[in-house]
Point group: C2
Chain length 400, copies 2
């Protein structure tokens, strides 16, 4: 699996926005947008100016308009427009360019608001017996930074991920697929820099990527301007997820309606999961009769439900790891995980977790191999499939 960095980091400060394939680009206006964007780097280092704009939420309609203006990237706007119209468009573009600082988390919008960056200090309760941050704790911060971006851009209405149109129609986001690669787990007191952004994924999916970087300065929590220094980061975690829409009442999946597309589209990057070359091998449903391990009687606890009455994604990870032998996990660390969610379970569900070693060894003899793969299946007691997944494990460095 090969990786690259956050899109457009060194090539251009202004991010490149995306279209859902069904959205027509009907607006033909022309504007000097690129010229304005080139001015961004110096103002990025002015937190005072950023804070002034904190509550200036530009509406989705305005953002879409500016995006369409940008799409027609020529320099003839002044000649084609009256001074008043020119002034209006310039104001919109400046708002759109405003760098918003979130005073609650210390997070910040970059690249025209398309990328959200936040520093996270690893807490003592987020590490496990091996002193490393747990995989579940990493996943918690994926959800949290995604919500923070949507919150400070004003995209969400109900406080937990749904836009205004989604709330009106009882729609919520649920994870469809998830692919994570962890090169190195941070430990207690490490400070990790997280970047995340969204993009269209087919007609009815919303893609979101994350990069976690090691941030060794230790000063970023106290000095917000340091967020913008590029300091040859060491990559730690890469993650790509695809979300789909579910009706909160019927619990059935839903297409993305035009009204919702119009809300989301101005916040999308023009890329599709560029940070990881996906493992293209299809994950077959695990044949129950060949499973190495089966754990039964698994059910969510009171604290595993989120405000959408949805079992938290981290709980699914816990269940998957229940069926990996502990003697194996003492010697290997989880390097990559791919999950495909098939059906949600509820508070009263009772599940089984099954796993089978499929690459690099078998359950009786794995000690000579540096990389081991497992296939996983979560299913209800009645056999209905909830999730299928693949994990890749690497031999721990006993010196670290």
């Amino acid at each position: 699996m090969s990786m690259s960095g956050t899109p457009n980091y060194s090539s251009s400060v202004g991010g490149k926005r995306a279209d859902f394939s069904t959205i027509a680009s009907g607006f033909q206006g022309k504007v000097r947008v690129q010229t304005l964007l080139r001015k961004t780097p110096s103002s990025l280092q002015s937190p005072g100016k950023s804070m002034k704009h904190e509550m200036d939420i530009t509406s989705a309609t305005e953002r879409k308009l500016v995006k369409q203006l940008r799409a027609s990237n020529t320099h003839s706007f002044v000649a084609d427009s009256t001074p008043t119209v020119n002034g209006k468009y310039q104001k919109l573009t400046e708002d759109w360019e405003s760098k918003k600082l979130d005073l609650i988390t210390g997070g910040r919008l970059l690249q025209d608001g398309l990328v959200y960056r936040q520093n996270i200090s690893v807490r003592s309760f987020e590490i496990g017996g091996d002193r490393k941050m747990s995989f579940g704790a990493l996943l918690n911060h994926l959800q949290d930074t995604a919500l923070n971006q949507s919150r400070i851009t004003g995209l969400i209405a109900d406080g937990f991920g749904s836009t205004r149109e989604m709330s009106r129609n009882n729609l919520i986001w649920v994870v469809s697929t998830l692919h994570t690669v962890v090169d190195r787990y941070p430990t207690w007191t490490d400070v990790v820099e997280v970047d995340t952004w969204m993009y269209a994924s087919g007609k009815n999916g919303l893609g979101r990527d994350w990069i976690f970087r090691d941030s060794k300065t230790g000063e970023t929590l106290a000095n917000a301007t340091r967020f913008f220094l590029y300091h040859c980061p060491r990559f730690i975690v890469h993650e790509c997820s695809v979300y789909v829409m579910m009706n909160k009442k019927t619990r059935r999946l839903s297409k993305i309606a035009k009204e919702v597309r119009d809300e989301i589209e101005p916040y999308l990057m023009d890329c599709e999961c560029p940070i990881i070359n996906k493992d293209s091998r299809k994950i077959l449903k695990l044949d129950v009769s060949t499973a190495d391990q089966i754990c039964t009687g698994l059910s969510p606890g009171w604290n595993d439900m989120d405000i959408n009455q949805h079992v938290s994604n981290v709980k699914y990870i816990d269940w998957i790891l229940e069926s990996v032998p502990r003697s194996f996990m003492e010697r290997y660390y989880l390097n990559a995980m791919t999950l495909e969610y098939k059906k949600e379970c509820d508070m009263d569900s009772v599940l089984q977790s099954l796993s089978k070693m499929v690459g690099g060894g078998n359950s009786d003899s794995f000690s000579a191999n540096k990389v081991i793969e497992y296939d996983h299946l979560l299913r209800l007691d009645n056999g209905r499939e909830i999730l299928r997944g693949r994990t890749v494990w690497k031999l721990k460095d006993t010196n670290s």
Copy 2:
């Protein structure tokens, strides 16, 4: 239960240190310590000066010496000493007074380092289905802030709570009792200000208290000097715990040896759990035959172990709540919890969680009561007691 604030807040900036009852106060020197302490308030508002001292860890021996000097609070030191000795003691006192800023968490030492204060922003993954921070998430931050205080004072050696002498002798801290009162649970994006401090609890216990306050300014994360403004906080959570020492290899409790006392004693406040008038009623062992609810087959997962190979305290809370009916928890919130840990369990333990409604109603009829109490028991399958506890629940305000 009545409550008060952090000790010595308004009466004096300098905190009052404590003795273990077995430590003799043999040093008879006299020094103008109070005069120096009175100078503290103005320097508290100078973060630049605080940061300069960040790595000036005064040794336990020096801190104890200064404490003994303070204990003999007279003004005749200059006359009794040579100028060189006088200069030395003055330097020690200034180091001891230094206000340390933790750049990783934004936390800070107050009251001569006896009190640690840190702001916490509530994350999306820390709230439950009712949009409130979970009790377990609160407990996570108790542990974390305690460790942060010990870390930045230099008291701990192994990175997870043990002093140098404790590490040499394979000793770790484990919670013996815990008493928490929650007046109001914060929600996502709330910023909570936490104060914590330690005190001697009998001959072989270490007491620690916490106060969580609502911090509505939202500016404290970005402006460290605001940590020192007193802004009529609304109390949220009060917590008292007592820790005892356990041998990491034999898993048996241990007395606190003199060498360990000498390390800890300079960091102790002279108080014993002043923030909550404890519920003095003895918690009787729950009679199994009268339990309302019994959950069986509970066992820790891979991620529930900490680096001391100890099941995390939050997991015990999860198990306790497993035996409280969900229909009840939908209508009542957990207002107070008292736990007495009797024996630790390990990775392979299989437990039972039992509960019985003991005050304010019974399991068939509780709807008319605003306050309900439960008794709890966690035990191994073989009947051995792991923990006993009492919880107090209050009717939820349906308007909030």
